[in-house]
Symmetry: C5
Subunit: 357 residues, 5 copies
């Protein structure tokens, strides 16, 4: 079953903006909150139950950096609790619940709102899909909201726990950068898989293309159309972050953002290259079809052209006219065979000359 | 009957600008006026007969916000009465009557003129069409002109009556935003319907494509071309509103406009995605045709190629030459069948090898 | 005969700029001059012979607005007389005579030079062509040069004579606007005609497409390519007029120019939409061809496949072998027919299953 | 033999910039220098031998305007002599010798360097090619370098000699303008020729397209791709000249540059139009092919479908079964013919109904 | 085996930025360092073992210009040693090791980081590939990192050793320019080879296209898609260098950069032209296929159409009806032949008229 082209919007047209309604599929059973609070010297980490979300509010006033991660966004109440603690605008709260957004960056007075699309390979539907990841970057906190648990951020948790690299020394902006970088890097691993599949398909296309190959090309094309929609806005998003003039993002982090910007350009480049290659494959497929049709037609034409006159001649000597002198001659039957073979060979040579054989 | 590509313009080329002539179809019998006058504390609501339009003029001087909605724009006199009360430029009055415009935003000294296209599904013609919605945003009033009664604005009327959300607390600019938002949201429900139809068509395309499928693809393509014309200018319109430097639009409302701008981008994205997908479907359709032609040709070629030489041989032994020694041999008839079967099997194996069977 | 793609340029490459040579077809026999001199209170109107063009010079110094219209531009002397009176730059005089220009706007110190393309339907060649209209907008005068007499400006003459609307009250810039508006409006009536023809062609395409349909599509495509060349620069031209910072164009007129700018965008939109629709029609035509080819092939294949084995069998029993036991059996002939019908029906059912019938 | 897509570069990768090596074909045997030195009152003109190039150096200090034209650029020594006299940057000297450049404009402190491509029709290869024309515009001198003698500049020489127009009264910048204008005008005459050929081809395409037509379309397409490469940069070049802020180009000349800019846009427009038309011709050609294939298939199918059942029936009554009662009936032979004719007519009517005939 | 579309990234998604891991193929066995230290008067040159990289650090403080070239980048330790000596940012060190980057230019406080792609023809895989060249331009040093030894820079080494041209007189920025210029020039020699191959393919396409030709076209297309990815960013890179406002690049060198910018534009132009030409070749190939199919079909149709009615007639007179008067007539057999020949000739003439023969 292909993915829906436009998702049903729970919110009816004309309803008040800022109404908190979850829009999208429910992708995990339980909502899970987890926070890590750290500075260069210490780290505190804890799981929080969905109905005790208010417990996270205290983190806001600590001088250390807090990262609150929410897996599962289908409970508006939880989002609202968190959102109100950190004074998020009602429209932002609405946007976090609505998984329909394209990647974007919005600066508010004392926080930045970032929407990303995380690609993942849906084993069941056998296609690449995306889930929405929303980030709130505040002065000393980062909130992240995912549709379901994922393992992409685990590497960052490990770096925090093990105090690897500079991550514990730098502020919330560096953490936000690390999360964005992890998402963009994840695109590479997905594109690598797709690249492998495309190369397999190219081999198949040259060896023995069939109707299946055509559908596979069509599916890749469709996948690229939809993947493209989620990567192009990334570029704008990150250059928006780089140009941001608030104090949220330090100059040190901006150098790292330049790096992730480069990666984004590469992701876009790769998607565009895949599109071009897939378009080329379709051309190749159609040419192969025409080529094979040509082959089939040639075989038919050669067979028909050689035997049609022969059959006619055989028919002639099967006629029952009383006065057919050839019929009584002694050598007409062998002569008939000789003529047949001569005609056949003559046509064969003519085909050879035209390079049909 | 497909929708007209270019609508007849009632106004003859070269006539004076500012002449009030209705251009377009008459889509409702009677012209209906309705106003809602409200502030945070009270709300007054009334239907007004078309020929008493002047009664609305008094609303202009009230300190509360007034929303005058006109359904049916084919009576120039009504439009002129309203237009003159609220001192609209003659060109604006002409534009309200002319349903031929593309979406646009024009700032005047003390009001803004906004033209939108509202999509609707025409049951009779079985296609998506648009009607024109014109808005005038003044300091404490909003005028809306629709070609026919619709239910998209009912939600907003309910929010006003029930004093839901912030709508009663904020000014005329927020009301105008709410109306635009309702129109843009309506595009989503239309696109959702089209998306479902496209997916049905895709299934049909893979299972059993026929001439009908081709016409359906062509119609979608045409629909997208025309829908596209009405959504692209929306983007410019809303970013025009956001950049507007008059006092008409408050900063609070501008944050909401940013939200509706995002939705517009999503609508455009979706329309473009549909275009790409439809283009892909046409390719798929053509490839399927070629594939099926190949199948047909193969069947013909296999049958012909197997039987043509056999028929020739049968013809040979039907000849009436007097001296054909084979005819008299005891086992030639069974031998003939054996040879026939051998030739047939040989060709069959050859076709198998070429993967034609 | 299709219109020439590139018109012969009378002027040889390398000749001095400013040389007055008429470039283009001669489209009218006699050159005709006509002037209307008016202000809010009076109007004077007169035809002037081509060789008395100098008589118009006196109009330059009157305080009222003068509009001098020249029909037929193939007499350089006339253009030069007028041009020198109103101190036009030699390059401008050359450009008026050369009908090869694309629409453009050029500001000079005390006048503006505007080149437009007026579309008209050439009955003889059965295609849309354009003639060049050049306007000179001075402080209190407008000069218009047409290749041949037309009736598009008659409406404006009537408005002037009858003192309808604001035209007599406003200056030369409003008159120039009115002329441009008349030309742009004229595009709509031409596009309306083309739109009707395209819709007729679409019906024909679905009912019974043939080689003629293909040529009609090709001609529309060609027409659009050439029409497009004349409408795109209009946009730039009018926005150039709007941005003009000289005193020639008043702010009042600029509001009207905004209106004509909108119309131009609509014209461009329509031309682009037609291009898209025509491209879609070509695809549809090609698909129909393939579809019909498929139909033809199926009929051939079904007939051949059913009868080829039957004919073979009939041939077998027409053989003259002496020992063919079946020939002597009592029921072999009826049995032969039964087998024939069984084979025929079997193949018929097989085709039914493959949805070939 | 088609023109080389990429020309061999004499200069090996990595060699020092500023090394004077001629890159390109040698298009004339002898290098010829010619100078014209003039002001409003007098004109001096002389041919100079290649090895006395230094004689031109004296011209630099004269108060009059000097135009030195060099035909043939394959002798680096001559270019260097001239270049050093007029203090040209080594890179400029290298660029003059290298015919591989795209049109460009480069401003230096006291001169401007302009590279143009002059189109010409190569009789031998039967295709349009370009030669490089380099101009150096100094304060009171113009240097022009051509690959071979041409007659495009002769008109300008005549204008200088005859003191026609303003050319002797204005400075070196006007001369440079006149040279550029001559080159751009030359594009028109080339495009006119191509336009005529394209129209001939269009007629051929409709009357009797064959493999030759296809190759002609392909060659035009290729020619347009390469011509396009040489005209697009012209636009930028001339607008660069217009925006130039040095004292080299006077305001009077800039008005003339605006004119040549318009011509350039027209050239580009025409090339793009040709591309569109050629693309349309390819579509038309392919559709014609499919149409004709359809015709061929229909003839085959009609013939086969009518005769296949008849031949089968004839075969049936040629069988030698002993008990075939029809064979002995008196009227079976005429009846056979009647049935044959009835079947034939029936199929004929069926084909008529399907519009195959 | 085609080149991988996306290269495996050694670095797992989410790992810390600045971690030094080599990403890419290992293209040379041993890592080699070589430095040249020079000024206008002296030059010192030496090979350094990979594990003594620290020896290069001393060069940093010399007043002369130092060029350190590293061939082979798969040993992170070597890169880190060098990188730390010259205080390169950890992200830069990471980027040098990762061969996955697109060309880019990044300015840091006291050095500039430049990534280039050097094309080379891979003999084994028979296709054009690229290797990454990273340059660090400091105040008095240039570091260059190549994936494997190449000979493109040898010319520059010779110019340095022989003190040819200005290279020893100008600073590190001129050396960096010379290296970039060598890379860009190398694109020309690669494109020249491809151009030759494309022209060979074009000839083949016209003479005798087959399935191989199609695959060759497809491969060129793919090669162009990938080559394009590496040349487009070059343009931005070099214009970034030109606009750079630090003191690293002198005005003298910027004039040379303008030259290399022109070359880059030409490279891009050529790649785009190749793309257009290859697209045209595919069209030509497909048209040839259709043309040949047409030929085949015509032969079949002519043969079948001529012989089918003849065979039918022969069948008729092979029937065994007792009462067939023609059978006994004296001249019916010769008459039969005459009728056969007449029918055959009639059909032949009909085909001639339709231009099928």
């Amino acid at each position: 079953m292909p993915r829906k082209l436009v998702r049903k919007r729970g919110k009816p047209a004309g309803s008040a903006p800022g109404t908190l309604i979850h829009v999208g599929e429910k992708r995990t059973e339980s909502v899970r909150l987890h926070y890590i609070d750290y500075d260069a010297h210490q780290l505190e980490e804890q799981d929080v139950a969905a109905d005790e979300a208010a417990a996270c509010c205290a983190l806001k006033d600590r001088p250390s950096v807090s990262w609150i991660n929410v897996d599962g966004i289908h409970q508006p109440a939880t989002i609202q609790t968190i959102g109100d603690c950190f004074s998020l605008h009602p429209l932002v709260q609405e946007d976090i619940l609505n998984t329909d957004h394209r990647p974007k960056f919005e600066a508010f007075d004392d926080y930045a709102f970032i929407v990303l699309k995380m690609p993942f390979y849906d084993q069941e539907r056998r296609e690449v899909r995306t889930e929405q990841v929303s980030l709130i970057l505040g002065n000393r906190f980062v909130l992240s909201f995912q549709e379901k648990e994922g393992d992409v951020f685990d590497k960052i948790r490990d770096r925090l726990r093990n105090n690897k690299g500079r991550i514990r020394k730098l502020g919330a902006d560096y953490l936000a950068y690390a999360l964005i970088d992890a998402v963009v890097d994840h695109y590479f691993s997905i594109l690598e898989q797709i690249g492998d599949q495309i190369e397999d398909l190219e081999d198949e296309l040259i060896l023995e293309p069939d109707q299946e190959t055509l559908h596979a090309i069509h599916n890749f094309k469709r996948e690229m159309i939809l993947l493209r929609k989620s990567v192009w806005p990334l570029r704008e998003l990150i250059s928006g972050l780089q140009r941001d003039e608030s104090d949220l993002i330090s100059d040190t982090t901006k150098i790292y953002l330049r790096d992730v910007y480069d990666h984004t350009i590469q992701v876009i480049d790769t998607v565009e290259t895949f599109r071009d290659i897939i378009a080329g494959m379709l051309d190749l497929y159609l040419s192969s079809l025409s080529n094979r049709m040509n082959e089939v037609m040639k075989v038919l034409t050669i067979m028909a052209t050689i035997f049609i006159p022969l059959t006619f001649l055989a028919g002639v000597y099967g006629m029952n006219f009383h006065y057919m002198p050839e019929l009584t001659w002694r050598w007409s039957y062998p002569a008939f065979w000789l003529i047949m073979i001569a005609i056949g060979l003559g046509l064969f040579v003519a085909f050879k000359r035209r390079k049909w054989l």
